[in-house]
Symmetry: C2
Amino acid sequence: MDELSDIGEFGLIDLIKQDTINDHSSVIVGIGDDAAVVLPAPRQLQLLTADMLVETIHFDLTTTTPWQLGYKAIAVNLSDIAAMGGAPRHAVVSVALPPSIPVEFVVNLYKGMKEICREFGVNIVGGDTVASPQGLVINVTVTGEVEPAKLVRRSGAKPGDLVAVTGKLGSSAAGLALLQAGQWEDEDFAWPLVTAHLTPRPQVRTGQLLAALGATSMDDISDGLASEAHEIAKASQVGIKLFAGQIPLAPELAAAAARFNKRATDYALFGGEDFQLVFTMEPGKYETLLALHPDLPVTRVGEVVAAGEGVTLVDAAGCVQELKPRGFNHFRQEG
Amino acid sequence: MDELSDIGEFGLIDLIKQDTINDHSSVIVGIGDDAAVVLPAPRQLQLLTADMLVETIHFDLTTTTPWQLGYKAIAVNLSDIAAMGGAPRHAVVSVALPPSIPVEFVVNLYKGMKEICREFGVNIVGGDTVASPQGLVINVTVTGEVEPAKLVRRSGAKPGDLVAVTGKLGSSAAGLALLQAGQWEDEDFAWPLVTAHLTPRPQVRTGQLLAALGATSMDDISDGLASEAHEIAKASQVGIKLFAGQIPLAPELAAAAARFNKRATDYALFGGEDFQLVFTMEPGKYETLLALHPDLPVTRVGEVVAAGEGVTLVDAAGCVQELKPRGFNHFRQEG
């Protein structure tokens, strides 16, 4: 099997640059010159986001295939674009690769990237391929576009708005726990959770719809619902009250939580990488949203309150407790 | 001294985001939301480029300060924008940091980035800060803008054009050799070479000027003049003839070459990271360029010929020999 050191950097770039352009109308120069050249759409704001994934910190090559890893490396960035109400346009991909890595691994890594880019009409227009002394590092930067009137930030939540989320929460964190514990393949409940962790689906179209229908603030759920609620509360200078019993959970989550002797809602609140959206909206507009899109997978989970009330969780018994923003924080050990 | 693990990811981001915006008119949301939001200039093409720097592959922390490293991480990207004739606008910076790294190191790394961004009016609008199990990794993505009529690619060189370069070549590679050999600090000749290696100056304004005055192709010299000549020859489907005696060398290069018993021109031809520009232009336009800008540091080094002639070097004795594109190639061992 060929290793990277057999084909060299330029051979690798030739392999990578096939099938990278999905929207030819906006790309003038793709991979292969000093910089990519693209045509911005008129009268749109531009969005820019980046995520770096580091081997052993963000992924473990014993539990992900290269295809899945490539897919996820793009997905996490599209999720950030979705959280602003935008449409993703172009990706710039840098990879640091150990020279002993099989060429087939790199080809499959890019196949995963190209698959999700094709689904969402995103072009891979450039990047960098470098050697790594050990360990794989992937950085993806994605640009997006949004009409000025549809931009949604974290800072627009108002007391009286409701808080809602897309999809089911906690699946990814439970999937990660299963992957780390091993011996999950024979359990039917495990597959949807592991899939949610390895190949999350960014909520791009839902994000654009929520932006168009009046979301006042929005965030993607990358560090757990509790952490994102704090982000919105801080940026909007409001309080947020969440109802534990209303948080939507995948039916399989209970079995996983039981296996690890944890509460299912804790995976939703303090787990990470669901890449669903949390948003705030006036209740009347939310009714309109549901009337227009009865099948949209959104769930009301709380309400925006005055800043002085802080961020709280109401449990099944009606008890209100402060909700700490425990989530994933690089560099700091959990206390 | 504080380590990153003392202040955490969010404390770090608070430190980083100061003084990152130099052109407030084009930034709507900088660091701190899911994605940055910027305002593209109307009727401009957008440029996108990325470079990843990996510890022990691209830099050695025993021979660079964090400030210099930050400066260079941005500089290499501005050089790519310069090579297209563009103006750099926004930077997105991802760093993978060992948790034991001192906070002061990271602050100085960003100070170097902020200094060069300030010089060139570039905004740092976002990025990612993650942990690294070992070794520092920096990825910078830079956007730029260029008028459609002023875009210069590698592919426009025509037989009859001349080939010219900016600045002096070979200094960076000689500086690297001095840094690796050590004991260079007492040699006056060493300082300009080491400086050229550690804090290269991207030729942004010169690139824009050359684009406006009719450069037919352009490339930044990141892998040595020989390699870049091959890039232009391949993209433009032409041959290139370079004259060894015309290649501009820093006066200090001879002393360094003598120390290592090498030919000075080899540093220029096969060394890397000069981040000067090589361009092609009709001779008449070049005369106009020199008449309008007599102090512009450009030097004619060759001519564009028919593709069949290949890429050649004419030595002092007038002998023509094939010029191999030896330069830095990740993954492949030099033969």
